[in-house]
């Protein structure tokens, strides 16, 4: 099958710091791929490269066979930011945020059409937030807030969804809901790439896993990724023990 995301020989530096070093990766459509690695392993940098926010020093990124810029123009890529990157006090409602998923297909003033309102209502219904549509986003739990951004990606009808640490600060119930939604979205043929250090959620969530430490340490089955001999070098310590205890 043609890969949805194809990264070849990607290297990114921030000044002296090497964030990504010769990363090559093919992410398949219709599957949930877990991207695991500790803080500073380059997960966010890889996401930013796929979205074209940062330009690589070397290597290339193809999204659905085209450049990231072309993919952006077609609205193919949806992004669910990590919690720290969201200002929850911002005076927007749940519906407002989901509607932002439609902006790419709206006109100069981004005035919503009836079909856009319908798409937003469907997306909010799907993530179970229909009754919270008028709430300001600060009045939601952490898990509900994550689902708002997932609804934005669904309203956008993004073929490729990038989720940055979607389980951080999320209660178990919301986590189960998000896992179920991501599995459904992948079953529709979408590409779901999830960065996480929540290793215990991985077997239920992902079809395959990529272990990142500035370069691809491992790419294969989830059980293969979770083997201590794979994780130890990537995390520097045996992280599974404290994760299981928690």
């Amino acid at each position: 099958m043609k890969p949805a995301i194809e990264v070849a020989g990607l290297s990114v530096h921030y000044g002296e710091v090497r964030a990504l070093d010769d990363v090559s990766l093919r992410v398949s459509p219709g599957r949930v791929t877990g991207l695991i690695g500790m803080n500073g392993s380059g997960k966010s940098t890889l996401f930013k490269s796929i979205m074209g926010v940062i330009r690589p020093d070397r290597g290339s990124v193809l999204v659905a066979g085209a450049t990231p810029a072309a993919a952006r123009r077609r609205g193919l890529v949806g992004y669910v930011p990590q919690s720290e990157d969201v200002d929850r006090a911002f005076p927007v409602s749940v519906r407002d945020v989901a509607m932002m998923g439609r902006y790419g297909r709206l006109g100069f003033t981004r005035r919503a059409r009836p079909q856009d309102r319908a798409a937003v209502a469907r997306a909010l219904d799907r993530v179970g937030l229909a009754e919270y549509a008028d709430r300001q986003i600060g009045q939601l739990s952490g898990g509900q807030a994550k689902r708002v951004f997932l609804a934005r990606g669904i309203a956008q009808d993004a073929r490729i969804l990038l989720l940055d640490e979607p389980f951080a600060g999320v209660d178990k119930r919301s986590e189960a809901t998000i896992v179920r939604l991501l599995r459904e979205l992948a079953a529709e043929g979408r590409t779901v790439l999830v960065s996480t250090h929540d290793l215990h959620a991985l077997p239920r969530l992902a079809d395959e896993a990529v272990v990142l430490l500035r370069r691809v340490v491992f790419h294969g089955t989830v059980s293969g990724a979770l083997r201590p001999e794979t994780l130890a070098p990537a995390f520097g310590v045996d992280v599974l023990a404290p994760e299981r205890a928690a």
């Binding site: 926010v53 890529v77 300001q136 600060g138 739990s141 509900q144």
Partner: protein
């Protein structure tokens, strides 16, 4: 003296009518822009650009082109210099902003001091709303209308930019262009407002109304109504006070705005200090979702 006379007497003077018209115009545009500035966290940037337009305005005066042109060039130069210093040295952004805007503002003061016929230009620094001519009114209204139209037409994009520039980028809307649009409008608005309250106080009109409205509502759409309405009212009250107290008009407009912010900060029903204390026991359960309470 009756209240009616207090209100009507100043209107017999043309300069008072012009003062009210220009102040309300500037107040409305500044207040709209301030809604985005306070949410992005660009208050210091507003301070910087509004000061940094001064040399551009002075040079525009000398060369004989519209003030707005000079302000845009000067404002863009300030933003470029701030970015260059921040990115190419170890100096952090707040220091870069402080260095650039004070230097450009100082350059403006130097240019004014060596330019003949300086009275007009000193008005830009301190504001002289009681002295605006009919031609000034026309310029202010035209610039304000341009800024207003741009803000209203692109309001959804600007809010997207303020809230989540990464998402904007991901769906093919260039956040850099939206940032540049906002900075351009900031420079334009600074010219409008500096003729009323002066360059030094413009930043107040660019921050206080948005911050006040933000304390009053959780809806951005309502902020865009509350901020200009409040700002316009404060402008009128400030101008009247300056007439009857024979005191600085620009100064009083800003003092009134600051006083209203203080009242809202203390007594605001939603996010006011006192209001929050009163409603705190009820707020918690109201803000919690049923789903979460069940978990």
């Amino acid at each position: 003296m009756s209240i009616l006379e207090l209100v009507l007497e100043p209107l017999r003077y043309g300069f008072m009518v012009r003062a009210l018209a220009t102040t309300v115009t500037a107040a409305v545009v500044c207040a709209l822009l301030s809604c985005w500035l306070v949410l992005i966290g660009w208050s210091l940037m507003g301070d910087a650009v509004s000061h940094a337009v001064l040399p551009g305005v002075v040079i525009a005066y000398i060369v004989g082109v519209p003030f707005a042109v000079g302000a845009l060039v000067s404002g863009a130069l300030a933003v470029a210099l701030i970015g260059a210093i921040r990115d190419a040295s170890r100096v952090k952004e707040d220091a870069a902003i402080g260095i650039v805007f004070t230097t450009l503002f100082a350059l403006g003061l130097v240019l004014i001091s060596v330019t003949p016929s300086q009275t007009d230009l000193n008005h830009i620094v301190f504001g002289n709303v009681l002295g605006v001519s009919a031609a000034d009114v026309v310029q202010i209204v035209v610039l304000a209308a341009v800024a207003l139209a741009a803000l209203v037409v692109k309001r959804r994009d600007l809010t997207l930019y303020a809230f989540d520039p990464t998402h904007a980028h991901a769906i093919g809307i260039d956040p850099k262009r939206l940032g540049a649009l906002l900075l351009g409008l900031l420079a334009l608005t600074s010219v409008v407002a500096s003729q009323v309250v002066g360059v030094i106080l413009v930043v107040a009109m660019l921050i206080v109304p948005g911050a006040t409205a933000y304390l009053l509502t959780d809806r951005f759409g309502r902020m865009l109504l509350i901020a200009p309405a409040m700002s316009a009212l404060c402008a009128v009250v400030g101008i009247y006070l300056s007439y009857w107290l024979d005191a600085s008009s620009g100064g009083l407009v800003v003092v009134v705005q600051g006083a209203v912010f203080g009242l809202v900060f203390l007594l605001g029903p939603r996010h006011g200090v006192a209001g929050r204390r009163l409603t705190r026991p009820r707020r918690r359960p109201a803000g919690t979702s049923p789903e979460e309470a069940a978990a």
